[in-house]
């Protein structure tokens, strides 16, 4: 059975290690914060200028001056700090942020990613995504394996305008966990009950299957 968005977030949370500074994109990535193990130390950075984000505020305690990159009201935890956009992207570009988790509309087998524009349709802009993908050493993409029409989003080549080139390292989709290797998408784990054949059918790009592929534990 394919994973829910919550389960994708839950699986990605396992990739978050002790001592990591993490930038979470909008959408599924935001949910990852809910599933990070409580016995490790992790700090969340938001590119609009805060490190050490906490949960949403209690009702009535919202502060218009304290938001995340999704423009949601947030709180901060002890040890948090605020800073300007230049220093914020300095953290990202300078590779001080250990892990970036973001969504994608398409990923190519060479690690190219497209997630900011559908020509003639969606023109919201890239926000901080191009900075994040061009700088981060460690990028995990959270995405659905196929679009609503059932078409694969893991492609030989991206068809949409790119956000970044050869940058995605890992993908957690509703069907599988995959590593982006020089040879293509290396299948690491299957969603519970999903067969290798189903994953193969949903993957347009080159899928590499080495031996038995374990089911993921979420």
């Amino acid at each position: 059975m394919s994973l829910t968005k919550q389960q994708i977030a839950q699986r990605i949370a396992k990739e978050v290690k002790d001592g990591y500074y993490v930038n979470l994109g909008i959408g599924i990535p935001t949910l990852v914060a809910n599933y990070v193990r409580e016995d490790i130390s992790v700090e969340f950075q938001s590119e609009n200028g805060v490190l050490g984000m906490g949960p949403f505020p209690f009702e009535g305690e919202e502060d218009a001056d304290i938001i995340n990159a999704g423009k949601q009201t947030i709180t901060t935890l002890p040890g948090a700090s605020f800073f300007d956009s230049s220093l914020s992207f300095g953290m990202i570009r300078g590779q001080h942020v250990d892990l970036t988790i973001l969504g994608a509309m398409e990923v190519a087998q060479n690690g190219d990613i497209a997630n900011w524009k559908i020509p003639g349709k969606m023109v919201k802009g890239m926000g901080g995504a191009m900075d994040l993908v061009s700088s981060a050493e460690n990028i995990i993409v959270a995405m659905m394996h196929t679009n609503r029409a059932g078409k694969s989003k893991l492609l030989k080549e991206c068809s949409l305008p790119l956000t970044g080139v050869q940058c995605v390292k890992k993908i957690v989709s509703n069907l599988a966990v995959l590593e982006v290797t020089p040879e293509g998408f290396l299948l690491l784990e299957r969603a519970p009950g999903v067969s290798v054949e189903e994953i193969q059918a949903a993957t347009e790009g080159k899928l590499i299957v080495n031996g038995d592929i374990p089911e993921m534990v979420v």
Binding site: R93, V123, D131, S134
Partner: protein
């Protein structure tokens, strides 16, 4: 002490004209120069180029200038959440240059500190880099991006003093500090304007040398775009 204090938003905006290029601080509706925007609407200056991370919402922030068709071109990183913006862009009334957020930030800072251009990896291999110089350093590719040139920077700070020194609050800081001194004239609105000497010199985020005019904003609505809360236990 060199005083930067002006008594009103109207004096603060003296000299704004049609066809000018403005920088405006803020991220979403957080930390935007509300009072200066209101005055720009009132003055009805036209054909503006606005450099700002976002374009406001339909009825607040830069959306107010868009409603009155005062903006000719937007330079932003993200412009969602604004139907009028989308309509004007798709109809070709509005010119839009979308650039990565970190590039936007560094092009502001470059203008502030007198650097002509910066090399950033953001956008390499994408349409953002089309027509721009690219270059390899240590095996990684970068795009050359130039410092912005602007006539006015409109900035919102939390506390300020008459010398123009500024302190920002929370994530309302964002692009505001790096736009100070990045335009020919920097106009700052503050929630609290204090006499010089009231702010600890050690805690000042932006020294007054980067500011030409400072005024106490009459009203700050500080609208929240996404009110997210959790329940009290």
């Amino acid at each position: 002490m060199i005083s930067k204090k002006v008594d009103s938003v109207s004096k603060a905006l003296e000299g704004v004209k049609d066809n000018m290029t403005f920088m405006l601080g803020g991220f979403g509706l957080c930390g935007i120069p509300e009072n200066s925007i209101a005055e720009l609407v009132k003055r009805n200056v036209k054909r503006l180029t606005c450099i700002s991370n976002n374009a406001g919402v339909d009825d607040f922030g830069l959306g107010l200038l868009l409603q009155k068709h005062q903006i000719k071109k937007m330079v932003s990183s993200y412009v969602g959440e604004n139907d009028e913006f989308e309509r004007q862009m798709l109809s070709g009334e509005l010119e839009v240059e979308l650039i990565p957020q970190g590039t936007l930030a560094e092009r502001c800072r470059a203008a502030q500190v007198g650097l002509p251009a910066v090399y950033t990896p953001a956008g390499f291999g994408t349409e953002v880099a089309e027509g721009k110089e690219t270059r390899e350093f240590d095996g990684k590719m970068y795009v050359l991006e130039h410092a912005f040139k602007a006539d006015f920077a409109f900035v919102k700070a939390w506390k300020g003093d008459e010398a123009g020194n500024l302190i920002f609050k929370g994530t309302a800081r964002n692009f505001n500090p790096i736009m100070c001194g990045a335009a020919k004239v920097t106009v700052v609105e503050v929630e609290e304007l204090l006499p010089a000497g009231e702010l600890d010199p050690n805690q000042i985020h932006i020294p007054g040398i980067f500011v030409q005019r400072i005024f106490q904003g009459e009203k700050f609505e500080k609208r929240i775009e996404q009110r997210t809360v959790r329940n009290k236990k």
